[in-house]
Each structure stands twice: as structure tokens, then as C-alpha cells.
């Protein structure tokens, strides 16, 4: 009693402040009270080769995902999700159905993803990116053609990807073959690409050598270098091309699977 503020100077009651609430406390409160599930999003933190990934979803679709970072804690993700979508993100014990297999296999193209709030251009670009198969890369001009938008729209839309990893922006490259990695550090992109079996060193070599496309001199078909058909061309028959025009002039046609540009 002689020193009533002594403990305060020492910073309160050390050790008691960090009382952990169970992760799904808020969710159980909302269910107990009877708030309709349509009124809020739930989220989980899942593991990916590039670290933790927060994935938020409404009852019908994934509404946002972001890689955890020193400045992106669970609370920061909640705040950001709220300001972007206007919906509360409530911690949940279970992820949206289909997210875990999509992350495991890299095949997320059929996962319902809600892109409301984005511009028409951004939506179309991101939908085109979703169509890039796992383990393959596509250049900006290809994405622009698929999205039916000018190429200048592509990189800004990738930068604003609100559903990291599940919309695979790490599979987008510049037209010279170098990865785009807009909106996150290149190490993250490399980790994601390597986890899909992409040989990042070989891709860098090809891009440095100016080989944007690979053709086979037995079939006279040219592909993107990560296309499954390009990967099975034996070294003796591999013909690199800098542009689609070069390939066409050499008498090659575009692959019908990876559909490279023709002009």
C-alpha cells in the first residue's frame, strides 16, 4: 500500500495479459446468437510452400487470401479484409470446402472465388490467370489475349490480386520469360513455382537466351517452354524462338494445348 503504483510502472501484471482466447470463440458466439452465416466471412490460416496463407470465404465462395508476413498478422488480415470487402473475417476451425485440395494440387481453377469489388479489367485478367495450368507459366501478352484486354491492364491487375496463391499470379511472366511477381517478393514467387515442379533455374536460362518459345523440328509445332508438350521435346530436336513471328516464319504452327500467340 505504500507503493500503490509500483506494479503499474512494471507494466501491469506480466504474463496475464496474453490470455489466449480459443480460435473459434468469435465464430461460436455468432452462431449462438444466431447471426445468419451470409453476414460474415470466416477464415483460416493454411500452410503453403511460401508460408502461411490466410483464406477467407463466405458460405458460397472464397473472398480473399493473403500470405502471412511480419506485417500481416491475423488481426491485420481481418482489418484489411474488412476495409477491402466490407465484410468481417471471423476465425474458423475449418477452411472453405475445396481450398485444401486446391492448394495441395495447385489446381484451383474450379474453386468458387468471389471477385466483386474489382474493376471489369481486373476481373477479366484474374480470370485469365486462373486458367493457367499448375506447373506452367504464361506471358503477359497471352493473359491479355485470353482476358481480351490491352496488355497494359495485366500487371496492375496482378498487383491487386486479392486472392494470393489461389489465383496463381506466380504463373505470370513478362513477355521475355522473366517472372512478373507483382505485389509480392520474388522469393515467394520462386518458392511457389518450385513447389509446382517448375525448374526456375532453367526458365531463367531460357529467358536470358531469349527463348520465349520452344519448337520441335519433327512436328514443327511451337509451345510455351513450360507446356507439357514442350517439356518432352528431346534436346536434339529443340528449336528456340524469340518471338511467335520468328516461329511462324520458320514454318512452325502454334501448339493447340498451350495456345501461344500467333503474331
Amino acid at each position: 500500500m505504500n507503493d500503490p503504483d509500483g506494479m503499474e510502472e512494471a507494466g501491469g501484471l506480466p504474463g496475464l495479459a496474453a490470455a489466449p482466447a480459443p480460435g473459434d470463440f468469435a465464430l461460436r458466439v455468432l452462431r449462438h446468437v444466431g447471426i445468419p452465416p451470409e453476414r460474415y466471412d470466416t477464415y483460416v490460416r493454411l500452410g503453403t510452400p511460401a508460408g502461411g496463407l490466410f483464406v477467407a470465404a463466405s458460405p458460397h465462395a472464397v473472398t480473399g487470401a493473403a500470405l502471412a508476413a511480419p506485417d500481416l498478422t491475423a488481426t491485420a488480415f481481418e482489418v484489411r479484409h474488412r476495409s477491402r470487402t466490407g465484410r468481417s473475417a471471423i476465425g474458423a476451425p475449418r477452411p472453405f470446402s475445396g481450398v485444401v485440395p486446391a492448394l495441395r494440387t495447385g489446381r484451383a481453377a474450379r474453386l468458387p472465388i468471389d471477385l466483386t469489388g474489382l474493376t471489369e479489367a481486373e476481373r477479366r485478367v484474374l480470370q485469365a490467370v486462373r486458367a493457367i495450368p499448375a506447373g506452367q507459366l504464361r506471358p503477359v501478352s497471352w493473359i491479355a489475349r485470353e482476358a481480351d484486354r490491352p496488355a497494359v491492364d495485366v500487371v496492375p491487375a496482378l498487383t491487386h490480386n486479392p486472392v494470393a496463391v489461389l489465383i496463381p499470379c506466380h504463373r505470370a511472366t513478362h513477355d521475355n520469360g522473366r517472372p512478373c511477381d507483382a505485389g509480392y517478393p520474388p522469393e515467394i514467387g520462386d518458392a511457389l513455382r518450385r513447389s509446382e515442379g517448375i525448374d526456375t533455374r532453367r526458365m531463367a536460362e531460357l529467358s536470358a537466351a531469349g527463348a520465349a518459345f520452344l519448337g520441335s523440328d519433327t512436328t514443327h509445332i511451337y509451345c510455351h517452354p513450360t507446356c507439357a508438350h514442350a517439356r518432352r521435346i528431346t534436346p536434339a530436336h529443340r528449336v528456340p524462338f524469340r518471338t511467335a513471328r520468328d516461329a511462324r516464319q520458320a514454318g512452325f504452327r502454334a501448339c493447340k494445348s498451350c495456345r501461344p500467340l500467333t503474331s
Binding site: M1, A17, P20, P22, I35, R39
Partner: protein, 196 residues
């Protein structure tokens, strides 16, 4: 550390509550759920009780909000208001527990129904001897001191907010906190002396 409350966020929250009850309530739970749980955990000393009483606190809050007009919802100070409800819920719980002693329940039921008094995984993960002693000492404080000490030093509320929860002048709240801390210190010193 303490539970930060950004003024800006609190302002948006009451606006939201005034305009859209369900949407605002969802944010209320998201922002203040952890603090309400932490308060109840430290005053009751049991994670299971904190969970049940926390659910009850928010149910009461929601029912009350339904009866408030938008202006009243806008004027709320959400954290102090929630803590007031939580403190009442806890006091009611303690009173009921005294009135209905455990002996009234048949032995079979107590087997499954009794909350496990041992520390749960989340508690034992960070358990240290000092913390155990502090928790034990806290549970020996009388309610009138325990609530303000937890509000001030676990939740990190200002004396003005503590006074609002306790329904007393700020000076009284300060005195309650400092008496509580004094008792805590004495209890810890005793422990030390008897080598517990």
C-alpha cells in the same frame, strides 16, 4: 500485450451498429471477443467458464442492442459496455453457483459435467511458476477488487473506463485498483515466505 482499441475503429463500429445491427454486431464480436474472453478467463480462473460466460455475455449484448434505438447504439462505448455486461454475467454465475451447490447434482452427472480444473493445453503451454502464483493470488482477491485489477492490468483499460464498468467515480476506481494490487502483493509475499 494489452488489447489495443483504435479510436477511429471504435467510432466506425458504433456507426455500423447504429446502421446495421447484424453487421455491426459481427464486427463487435471480432474486435472485442478476445478481450471479453480474456477478462472472464482472468476473473473466473477457468477457460471453460470464460467460454460459457463469454457466449452468454454476447447473447445479452445482442438482445440489449435489439431494444436500443440507433442513436443509443451510436452513443455506446462498446468496450466498457461489454465489460459491464461480462462483469454482471460473472457475478450472476458466482451467485448461482453458491445457491446451487455441487451436492445438488447426482454423482453420475458430475462425472461428465464438471469442468476440468487442470490447466488446458493452451494454458499449460505457457505456464510458468510465477504466472500460476499470480493467478492463484488473483482468485483470492474479493470481487470488488478483482474486477478492476483485471480491467486495468490485463485488459489495459483506462481508469475512466474501469470507473464506467464499476459504476463509480474515477477516484474510487483508482483506489480499488491500488487496493487490489496491494492485496495481490501481500498474497504473493506470503506465498514466498511460506515457500509455497
Amino acid at each position: 500485450m494489452f488489447f489495443p482499441v483504435m479510436d477511429e475503429m471504435a467510432e466506425q463500429l458504433t456507426d455500423l451498429l447504429a446502421m446495421d445491427l447484424d453487421g455491426g454486431f459481427t464486427e463487435l464480436v471480432r474486435i472485442h471477443g478476445t478481450a471479453v474472453h480474456a477478462f472472464l478467463f482472468r476473473v473466473s480462473g477457468s477457460a471453460a467458464d470464460a467460454d460459457d460466460l463469454g457466449q452468454d455475455t454476447f447473447l445479452r449484448a445482442y438482445t440489449a442492442l435489439q431494444g436500443y434505438d440507433p442513436e443509443r447504439r451510436r452513443a455506446l462505448r462498446p468496450r466498457a459496455w461489454l465489460m459491464t455486461i461480462a462483469a454482471n454475467v460473472w457475478r450472476n454465475h458466482v451467485r448461482t453457483a453458491i445457491r446451487r451447490p455441487v451436492a445438488a447434482v447426482s454423482v453420475d452427472e458430475t462425472e461428465d459435467g464438471w469442468p476440468d480444473a487442470r490447466p488446458g493445453p493452451e494454458e499449460s503451454a505457457a505456464t510458468s511458476e510465477d504466472r500460476d502464483r499470480l493467478v492463484a493470488a488473483l482468485s483470492e482477491l474479493p470481487e470488488i477488487h478483482r474486477v478492476p485489477v483485471v480491467l486495468r492490468h490485463v485488459i489495459g483499460m483506462s481508469y475512466a473506463e474501469v470507473a464506467e464498468v464499476q459504476g463509480c467515480p474515477v477516484g474510487t476506481a483508482k483506489a480499488q485498483v491500488s487496493r487490489g494490487l496491494g492485496s495481490l502483493r501481500r498474497l504473493l509475499a506470503q506465498d514466498h515466505r511460506y515457500g509455497r
